[in-house]
């Protein structure tokens, strides 16, 4: 699942790159930086990307996720720093969803 998510995120980054002041270096694959500490995205670029990733996750996995919320922003290590980190964060979120509620 993660590999597929990385692919989806990279594709969306590539599509957005022409309209960004600094492009995401998609050739670095999962290690490509996104937001914060030298990452190319500013907050507007991040918001646009996340909106599209959310839509793509819903299309592909049939689950709606909210990636930008207080929880994401308060993580010790930001889930938005690299493509890998974002993919991991989504995998964890979807896994959490699939655990049946404790009786």
């Amino acid at each position: 699942m993660k590999a597929e998510l990385v692919e989806i995120i990279l594709q969306l980054c590539a599509a957005q790159n022409p309209s960004l002041p600094r492009p995401v270096l998609v050739e670095q694959r999962g290690e490509a930086q996104l937001y914060g500490r030298g990452g190319p995205l500013d907050s507007l670029g991040l918001v646009s990307l996340i909106v599209e990733v959310e839509a793509a996750v819903e299309d592909r996995f049939g689950q709606s996720v909210v990636l930008a919320d207080e929880r994401a922003l308060s993580q010790h290590r930001s889930p938005f720093r690299t493509v890998d980190a974002l993919a991991d964060y989504i995998v964890a979120m979807l896994a959490e969803r699939s655990v049946p509620p404790t009786p």
Binding site: A15, Q16, P18, S43, L44, V47, S48, V51, D69, E70
Partner: protein
């Protein structure tokens, strides 16, 4: 007494067309006769001065003359139209209506007493001294309809100054301050009100061509519909001299396109509110969104970027909401404006402004750009809360030919990139669930169901 100045002008223009209703002309002579009939009828019907009377009608000859007779008698009139039928019970109750009058298809009146007795302090303030009143309901696009109570003597005052007679489409209805304004303007100048069977581009343009109309008072949304429909290709619109537009911010792209299509038609922005009446206005030019507002009886000022107006013709207050006036009588319009000397540019409602990471975005500006993208049939821009930037800009679009959002998104980005700063470019694009055009031809910005 209250309408004497109108009756004098009716007599002076006795043979002229006063109203075209259902394709039939009615002269001022005929209006005078009808007025006298209704005047005596009110006496027979025991409609006392100060009564609150709802009048469900359109601009038919009897609706117009009964309205005048009610004004002369010192009644408080609540104009209603069938378009707002669903809210009628609520309106009758809020306005404490004592008499309901309904004019039917044949323009015949049906009277009914409601058994209510109006006691609201604002209504008593008019009824006790016998001052004619008017109760207008806001469209309620942002919540419950508010009922504005006017002393009609104030609203009528400005019509005593003679101005050019026009043949005008009655586009804004009987229950709208813009419709009331069109009606009294024409009646006080020997002009003609042309009613239309429906407010579609074809019906309105057909009426303009058939009845040689020279004035179309309308909304930016309707001008956009005219351009989209291309219905203008089928009619001779050479009589049209002036188009006035108001009720919502004009998208720059609509104004430019309309001006290109009709270069000889003067375009004038108007500004009015159910709470204040219509201000006199002057557009800097036909293709300019800059406008000068004011005129006799109106003063304007800008406080924190928002327009405030003080008007002699201002309402007394709302029947169902607290007074919106400052202590010294200024009305806070809630409209954000840009200022250039004496000229103003209306950006939109401050309440509809989208704050994206501290930057201000007004939906009208973004809609104006998106509307120009080929294949976009309709667009509404709204804000949506977002944890990162506070809000994000969402564009809801109707696309031609079944184009998908996924396909459209990169086109939108590329088109907007050259025309808008990045924070104004919608971060999210969705399909528009229903038409953005409301009953009063204003763009409705609300959450998708």
């Amino acid at each position: 007494m209250h309408v004497d100045f109108l009756l004098e002008r009716f007599a002076a223009h006795a043979d002229a067309d006063a109203v075209i209703w259902r394709g039939q002309s009615c002269s001022y002579r005929s209006l005078l006769e009808r007025y006298r009939y209704w005047w005596s009828r009110l006496e027979e019907q025991h409609v006392r001065p100060g009564s609150v009377v709802s009048l469900a009608a359109d601009f038919s000859p009897n609706a117009i003359t009964l309205l005048l007779a009610l004004i002369e008698r010192g009644c408080i009139v609540v104009p209603l139209t069938t378009a707002m039928a669903a809210q009628k019970p609520e309106f009758l109750e809020t306005a404490e209506v004592e008499w309901c009058v309904q004019l039917d298809e044949r323009d015949e009146a049906h009277w009914q007493r409601t058994g209510r007795q109006a006691t609201h302090a604002l209504l008593r303030r008019l009824a006790d001294p016998g001052h004619p009143g008017l109760v207008l309901f806001s469209s309620g696009s942002t919540g419950r309809s508010k009922a504005a109570v006017h002393d009609l003597r104030g609203l009528l005052e400005k019509f005593k100054v003679p101005r050019a007679a026009r043949r005008a489409i009655a586009f804004l209805l009987y229950d709208h301050i813009g419709g009331i304004n069109t009606l009294f303007y024409q009646l006080s100048n020997g002009g003609c009100v042309v009613t239309v069977p429906e407010r579609s581009p074809a019906a309105v343009l057909h009426a303009i061509a058939t009845h040689r109309v020279d004035l179309l008072p309308t909304s930016p949304t309707f001008l956009r519909l005219i351009l989209l429909s291309r219905a203008y290709e089928q009619y001779d619109l050479s009589s049209l001299k002036l188009v006035t537009y108001g009720t919502e911010p004009m998208p720059e792209s609509t104004l430019r396109k309309f001006h290109e299509r009709f270069p000889r038609v003067e375009l004038l922005q108007t500004y009015g509110l159910s709470e204040l009446g219509i201000l006199r206005s002057k557009s800097r030019s036909s293709d300019s969104l800059w406008v000068r507002l004011g005129g006799e009886g109106f003063a304007t000022r800008i406080v924190n970027g928002l327009l405030e107006v003080k008007a002699q013709s201002a309402m007394l207050g709302y029947l169902n909401a607290p007074s919106p006036f400052t202590e010294d009588g200024w009305f806070r319009t809630g409209d954000a404006v840009e200022v250039d000397g004496e000229w103003l540019r209306i950006l939109g409602r401050r309440s509809e402004m989208i704050n994206v990471g501290g930057e201000k975005v007004y939906p009208a500006e973004v809609e104006s750009v998106i509307q120009e993208i080929p294949g976009v049939e309709d667009v509404v821009v709204v804000g949506e809360p977002n944890a990162i930037t506070g809000n994000l800009v969402v564009a809801r679009v109707k696309l031609a030919g079944g184009e998908t959002v996924a396909n459209f998104r990169p086109r939108l980005r590329a088109f907007c990139a050259a025309r808008l700063p990045r924070f104004k470019i919608p971060q999210k694009v969705e399909l528009l669930a229903e038409s953005s055009t409301g009953e009063r031809f204003k763009r409705i910005r609300k959450a998708n169901p």
